[in-house]
């Protein structure tokens, strides 16, 4: 699962893969349009619904946070 999340992230934003900080949005690594694309592909790939309440900067602060989000949603 993690590998596929990273592939999707890389597809839309290569820089996000090497980013080791704690706020990809504020650091200008990804923007809101990239988040929309990533969310759309994650939903399709894992057949999950990522509700708007989860689409917040905290859950997209780095690649680990995105993987955690997908894990949580798959466990629901």
């Amino acid at each position: 699962m993690e590998e596929r999340v990273l592939e999707i992230l890389e597809e839309h934003c290569e820089e996000a893969i090497d980013y080791d900080g704690d706020s990809m949005m504020e650091d200008g690594v990804i923007d809101s349009f990239t988040v929309i694309n990533v969310v759309s592909d994650l939903e399709d790939e894992f057949d999950i619904e990522i509700d708007a309440k989860y689409v917040i900067a905290e859950n997209f602060r780095n690649k680990e946070a995105i993987i955690d989000l997908v894990k949580r949603l798959l466990e629901e």
Partner: protein, 291 residues
């Protein structure tokens, strides 16, 4: 007399780009610069940009407070409305010391009002663009300063077109900034017919409903026209499946070969439907039946 102050109001990528640009050009005009955040968005980085560039940042969410704040401006001021939904009151627009320019995400006089990228996709337009115009008391009625056009891709979604238009708006802004600051922009009248269609914020393409028997290309346009990711700008689209109301959770254009042998791979309440879309493609819809 030159502008003594520039006030920027808006949100999103274009606002951030304009903030940085105007800050870099501020020394050329010796004016004050200020940013007002009126609409709060979860991924906004304008506050950070202001902090890093030492631009005064003011947050005013209440419409009346904002109007009152702007009314107090005494200096000769250029107000830049970039991706902003606040409607400037007539009394402010008519203040002699305030000039307002606005970015509209369509080619005025066509598609005035809200959510223009959605309407151009829904209507099947092949081309759209952006307009920077002076603000008057009427919505999107002011004289045109500059326009830029772009093609509408056959698979483009509303949020993708919005992003494309923001990039275009920033390029056009840079092209006309000096003319506006030096008050030598040759703005032209829109010349629209009285009673032209105005698109309101509460309007939804096709009223948010479609029938599975409709032309699939039109259904696909509708789906793309309301697609702003999770921004919740429009309600979830609805249709009827087996006579029961259903929400469309997701959609995707897929190669025809990807169609499974059983078109509905779901349970009683959720599943997928595949509709033919042209010769080589299918429109894959994930639905959830409503109680």
């Amino acid at each position: 007399m030159a502008f003594q102050k520039v006030v920027i109001i808006g949100y999103g990528k274009v606002t951030g780009d304009i903030l940085i640009y105007v800050k870099a050009r501020q020394k050329d005009y010796g004016c004050q610069l200020e940013f007002i955040e009126h609409e709060i968005h979860p991924f906004s980085i304008t506050e950070k940009i202001c902090s890093e560039n030492e631009i005064p940042f003011v947050r005013i969410e209440d419409k009346r407070e904002l109007a009152a704040y702007l009314h107090k401006i005494r200096e000769k001021t250029l107000l830049i409305s970039a991706s902003n939904n606040f409607l400037f009151p007539k009394s402010l627009v008519e203040k002699e010391n305030v000039t307002i320019i606005n970015f509209h995400n369509a080619l005025l006089p066509a598609y005035p009002g809200r959510n223009a990228p959605s309407w151009v996709i829904f209507m099947g337009e092949k081309e759209t663009g952006i307009t920077w115009h002076y603000v008057t008391a009427g919505i999107d009625e002011g004289n045109i300063i500059i326009q830029r056009t772009c093609a509408i891709g056959e698979d483009v979604k509303a949020y993708e077109l919005t992003e494309q238009l923001m990039t275009l708006a920033y390029e056009a802004f840079k092209a006309c900034f000096d003319m506006v600051m030096e008050e030598r922009a040759e703005a032209r009248e829109q010349g629209f017919e009285p009673g032209r269609r105005m698109y309101r914020s509460y309007e939804v393409p096709s009223d948010g409903v479609f029938d599975l028997t409709e032309d699939t290309a039109q259904i696909y346009r509708l789906l793309r026209s309301v697609d702003y990711g999770k921004a919740g700008i429009f309600p979830v689209l609805r249709t009827k499946i087996d006579g029961q109301a259903a929400q469309i959770l997701r959609y995707r254009k897929v190669p025809a070969a990807k169609q499974p042998a059983i078109s509905d791979g779901g349970n009683e309440t959720e599943g997928f439907i595949y509709l033919p879309l042209g010769e080589d493609s299918m429109l894959k819809l994930k639905y959830r039946k409503m109680e």
